[in-house]
């Protein structure tokens, strides 16, 4: 589904990603891990076409995402570290806009029900700038439940969530996994990554030191990669 080849990215001539390559097949659930500042979020933003690589290609469904038409990127959903929504608009308005530009037309009732299921039944008409970090994180799950996506890029899925929020999140994630959805998570929770995902990628010094199925990984090598 996704084929990443020789991606390079530098900032102020310091290379952060060096000739990175990997494949993502249908149904893969991938944990992308590594030390702070190693470039995991940058890589995800390149895959979502928010950041521009200095070299390399990203092929999604046989189309180069940097050269092809925008409509060829239909099905990619990026949920970043930041909210990625408009602080002055309400939860409903943000979701409506996000759905429309992804080609979906949800009914208002569906949005409200989804928000309720994720624990956001109050303040759904208030601007989201009043939301706490945890509420903003839950909003991302609501968005992912309403938008049609084929591949999900999720940066820190549990960031800011309390216990209840984390349980709701795990419910969503498990549901998606059971439906064989393709997902890539940037996470620091290696334990969860190994238990939930079927593949783990370890990014260190600009390249993928580990790219293996989760069940065949030696935990020691991960820990040394994270030192």
């Amino acid at each position: 589904m996704l084929s990443v080849a020789n991606i390079s990215k530098s900032f102020y001539h310091n290379p952060v990603l060096k000739n990175l390559s990997f494949r993502v097949d249908d149904g893969d659930v991938i944990a992308l891990t590594g030390k702070n500042g190693v470039g995991k979020s940058t890589l995800l933003r390149i895959l979502a076409r928010i950041s521009h690589p200095d070299g390399g290609t990203v092929i999604y469904n046989d189309v180069d995402i940097f050269k092809g038409k925008a409509s060829a990127r239909r099905g990619i959903l990026y949920l970043g570290h930041e909210p990625g929504l408009y602080p002055s608009l309400s939860a409903i308005e943000n979701i409506e806009f996000a759905c429309r530009i992804h080609g979906a037309f949800p009914v208002a009732e569906d949005i409200i029900i989804t928000l309720k299921n994720i624990g956001l039944s109050e303040q759904i008409n208030d601007p989201i700038k009043i939301y706490s970090k945890g509420m903003l994180q839950r909003l991302k799950y609501a968005l992912a439940n309403l938008l049609p996506w084929s591949i999900l890029f999720f940066d820190e899925p549990f960031s800011g969530l309390d216990i209840e929020g984390k349980n709701l999140a795990l419910d969503c994630l498990n549901t998606w996994k059971m439906k064989d959805r393709t997902m890539i998570f940037v996470t620091h929770d290696v334990e969860w990554g190994l238990s939930f995902c079927n593949r783990l990628l370890l990014l260190a010094a600009g390249s993928l030191k580990i790219d293996q199925n989760a069940d065949s990984i030696d935990v020691k090598s991960i820990m040394s990669g994270l030192q």
Partner: protein, 223 residues
């Protein structure tokens, strides 16, 4: 990579350009006719106009380099764009200096809103913005892209700018000697020679600057 002048061709072409330019200045002062009413001030024309043309040529090259950089992202196009912008701005600054020097004896004022001079001033200001964008636009990998886009926007604006200032105020006549090709050959031939020599100088400076940009190790700047 070696120093620029250790390549024989560069040394030779540098020497040729230097000799040609010295001869050109000499030629302008001794072999060109004195135009009535303008006398010595008119001689600036043989420098002012070639410098203006090469300045605009330089900016045209910046636009082309920008387009090529956006298409295939090769660093050499970015270097060409930057070198062209620097040299173009240098030449355009010379135009803005020689213009008043020419205008003062003829029209009695230092500055005049003559259409081509005004267009040059506007273009100069656009390029001030270009260098600010290169400096403050973020990491160099991004500013290369953004500068390429600005170089394209700038040159596409040039014809519109020119036509707007040309018909702007009727009393601001064009420089004397507007129709260069209609001048007699006493003036036209030295002008053409000067134009060719300034273009040679421009191309030499461009190659030199591109060479320097290539061998500068950007990482040294950060230390």
């Amino acid at each position: 990579m070696q120093r620029f002048f250790s390549y024989k061709i560069n040394f030779l072409s540098g020497a040729v350009v230097l000799v040609a330019m010295v001869w050109n200045i000499y030629n302008i002062f001794t072999n060109t006719p004195m135009v009535p009413d303008q006398h010595w001030a008119q001689k600036i024309f043989y420098i002012h106009v070639p410098v203006a043309w090469t300045g605009f040529l330089s900016y045209f090259i910046v636009m082309v380099a920008g387009i090529l950089y956006l298409i295939n992202k090769e660093q050499k196009w970015d270097r060409l764009g930057l070198a062209g912008a620097e040299i173009g701005t240098l030449f355009v600054t010379l135009v803005l200096i020689t213009g008043p020097i020419w205008a003062k004896p003829i029209w009695g004022t230092w500055w005049t809103w003559e259409p081509r001079l005004t267009t040059t001033l506007i273009l100069f200001l656009i390029y001030v913005g270009y260098f600010m964008l290169r400096s403050f636009g973020g990491h160099p990998e991004r500013t290369s892209r953004y500068a390429a886009v600005l170089g394209i926007i700038a040159f596409i604006d040039v014809p519109i700018i020119f036509y707007s200032v040309r018909f702007w105020e009727v009393q601001f006549q064009s420089h004397p000697q507007v129709e260069i090709t209609q001048q007699n050959s006493d003036i036209f031939i030295p002008f053409l020679i000067s134009l060719i020599i300034f273009t040679m100088l421009f191309s030499f400076m461009l190659r030199f600057r591109m060479h320097v940009l290539k061998i500068i190790n950007p990482r040294n700047k950060l230390k």
